[in-house]
Symmetry: C2
Subunit: 485 residues, 2 copies
């Protein structure tokens, strides 16, 4: 029989002692829901663990551990020994930028917490926001000229449905571009236009795997990969990364029957690791032997600053088992919502079937001319220098102001983000929350993990941060970490 | 033990007499694969049924029936009593505009056949191509002016990721527009921008249903709905339509535990039926009582020509169980790849989690201004008159030239397409194939069915066909039907 306690603050908490769910889980779940629904408002002090244990008739240990979990997960924080308080910015705010949705019977709240990255444009303009190139350098002049050129031609083809793989002119321009930029030799018909690298991962996954198939994901990695796999009826198997990338031996042990692996070898999404050559070859061998597929997310592989240039998995693949994904989010700007898949020849036609094209044809025409006219290559040369400089400034500032509290480790050889660890702290969500409040937008590393075993750290974006903003932002961040309880 | 026969033309056909699959199914499957893979080329004559029965050691009846099925399905056609030949244009060509992809172990060939609609722009410009508004009347001048206006402002917000629900300005403009146009009262935050109505159905489905859930689909209906549901791990349950729309009593019988229904009540996707009010209320009651959801695809509900205007399900809904979907494909042009979802308030925030936005932010800004400035309303007024006139011309031409061979039935009260039945023929794919060869692009009705019980007919688009092309196209179509074997 449930044991109910009604409290003016936390409402009716009915513990079911016969349930499979532990009492601790029930308490954590109740508080989480009450906080997310606003029933317990932000900033409010919660009862002491002693009071909770008395009122609910549970052991003191159960009450303390429940509160510890709520604190570790970023729902509660302790303040000046005055007790525990509901956080102003909740884990869900980092994930989708606002209070959580109402809980619905067929939504999995655990999934929901993993879903999306923040979207508030005001925040994205803050220093150190990850995931964006130097959009302050967007080539507006050329872009406007080419847009006007296309519009004045009144291209009737831009109004019809078009080829589901995307416009031929764009696919052809991309094929030429990635030949030079990434050594990928392919025909235009092996290129498929998608709206982002995540959209590319989604359609490739749905094309290659069937309901119930296991899919290997990087842990930590992009939370949406996990969620999208689940919403396609697949079983995500997160594989803990080591310093060389996805641990394939571990993957074989955990899921010998996995059908698909999603990896970011150039620059791992969460940790910034570059997968070494041995590991690349081992992964390809896995795919060949297990009749599996590899989705290579090369979303920011173009920005390489140090270390030997490593061939994409796609170019090392001898058995047509790699699907390559690139994105204009990082080449130009996320707001374009444009990316591409390169499929091996034997698979390319299958993408027709997904009716994939979700991208404005007019805008595809503009991007095609931007690439064909050599503007993209020129833009990228500039961006690479600019990003490299901003990366150096960030590394220097971290060394100067935060070397005692943040572990930078090996700086990433590529990409647009740098992940630092918080060796002495496990409250990266609380720290990130305070940083956002202070105008510095960083991601807590722990949100990239899908499982319980998480490292504490911060993901810093350097590419979109103006040079003069980098050192001040690092100073703010360091003082927040130092002053945190 | 398999009984193998190697033939110079059809290769190695290994019949397995112990298999659960009948010999006839095996023969049909083998020929279908060999034709789709190009192993048996288009135009080639296949062996006689007598020869087939001898070489394979199967009964003559089995051979004849296998060939009959391949003919009915559009892979073979008989020519001047000279025998059976492989069709030039295969069923798959209607579906995705090219030869089929290589068969892969984990692709379901049955699904593949249902997948996408044709995309060849040359074909889409042919008379009677369904699924498009009068794109010859696209408002290029206003569009170009607004695009240039936006570009000259160099809006930095257009470069960031933006709100996953889409730009606020556009969501706000749509909320106002559908209030006037469709009587739907909603807040901007209940509108979510998607790249097409199919994309809207896809994300709503994935948000509302879990792996293994049953989803009610209209039969016939959009083939992609069926496919997308399967690729999300759901179980599609096609419900045969009657003249009032989806038969809810039948749905209750076939799938009492279904979680979701996808319907097009204003103008049914394949047959053009308008769902009557009783049926609408019955469907809403189903959702309430069974804790289910309804996805209302109102892709061309704006174009209404006759009959009483019926309220969208969304406005009749009292329990927040309807998700409404509209599309700019039909309001402006498919090439924009833009549509929208309206979610009930209690559900709207959940769409944040899908990270749905897949649409260029710059283009969202242009569309927002197009709506705000009153240009969309003016454009639609013009389109409605134009489409209505083209519809009349098509109905007249059919009455004059094809009343003896085509059954028009009740002309659709709304939308941009007209479905005619072929009461005396069951070879709608072969007829559609010849029509395309003759420059008239119509869809065979049978491709909209997912099950074996199919009606034969043709789906004709009138909205995008120039007035002067309508009668000649109908004449060509009539002569093809008359002259078909």
């Amino acid at each position: 029989m449930p044991n109910a306690a009604v409290h003016p603050l936390w409402g009716s908490l009915a513990l079911d002692r016969a349930a499979r769910e532990s009492l601790q889980d029930q308490i954590v779940g109740h508080f989480r829901d009450a906080i997310l629904s606003g029933q317990i408002p932000a900033g409010r002090r919660v009862p002491s663990s002693r009071q909770l244990s008395n009122e609910l008739g549970v052991s003191r240990t159960t009450a303390i551990e429940a509160y510890d979990r709520l604190t570790a997960e970023g729902y509660l924080h302790s303040k000046n020994r005055a007790g525990l308080f509901v956080c102003e910015l909740l884990p869900e705010d980092f994930l989708h930028g606002g209070p959580a949705p109402p809980k619905r019977p067929n939504f999995n709240q655990d999934d929901d917490a993993q879903l999306a990255l923040p979207f508030d444009p005001r925040r994205h303009r803050m220093p150190l926001a990850p995931g964006m190139p130097a959009v302050d350098q967007f080539p507006w002049k050329h872009w406007t000229r080419l847009s006007l050129q296309v519009l004045r031609e009144r291209p009737i083809d831009a109004l019809y449905y078009g080829d589901p793989r995307g416009e031929y002119a764009l696919r052809s321009a991309i094929a030429e571009y990635i030949g030079e930029a990434r050594g990928i030799i392919c025909a235009p018909d092996e290129v498929i236009i998608v709206s982002s690298s995540k959209h590319g991962v989604d359609i490739a996954t749905r094309l290659l795997a069937s309901t119930g198939d296991k899919i290997l994901l990087e842990e930590p990695g992009h939370p949406l990969n996990h969620q999208m796999a689940k919403s396609s009826g697949l079983v995500p198997v997160p594989i803990m990364l080591d310093d060389k990338g996805l641990d394939i031996a571990e993957a074989r042990r955990q899921a010998p029957d996995a059908r698909l692996a999603v990896v970011s070898p150039s620059h791992q999404y969460a940790l910034g690791t570059t997968m070494n050559l041995d590991r690349r070859l081992e992964l390809l061998q896995w795919a060949e032997r297990s009749d599996g597929w590899i989705i290579e997310d090369d979303h920011d592989g173009e920005y390489r600053y140090s270390g030997p240039p490593l061939a994409p998995l796609f170019t090392l693949d001898r058995s047509e088992r790699v699907i390559y994904i690139g994105s204009f989010s990082n080449l130009l700007a996320p707001g374009l919502r444009m990316g591409y898949i390169v499929a091996p020849p034997s698979l390319a036609r299958s993408f027709l079937l997904m009716g994939a094209s979700m991208v404005s044809i007019l805008e595809q025409m503009v991007v095609a001319r931007f690439i064909e006219g050599g503007k993209l290559a020129a833009h990228l040369r500039r961006m690479r220098g600019l990003h490299s400089n901003r990366r150096e400034l960030l590394i220097d500032a971290l060394a100067r102001h935060a070397s005692d509290i943040l572990e930078v480790g090996t700086a990433p050889e590529a990409g647009m983000r740098l992940t630092v660890h918080l060796p002495d702290r496990d409250d990266d969500r609380a720290i990130a929350q305070r940083a956002v409040d202070a105008g510095v937008f960083v991601h807590p590393l722990s949100i990239y993990y899908s499982g319980p075993s998480r490292k504490s750290g911060l993901v810093l974006g350097f590419a979109s941060t103006a040079e003069e903003d980098i050192e001040p932002a690092v100073k703010i961040l360091a003082s927040i970490i130092r002053s945190a309880d």
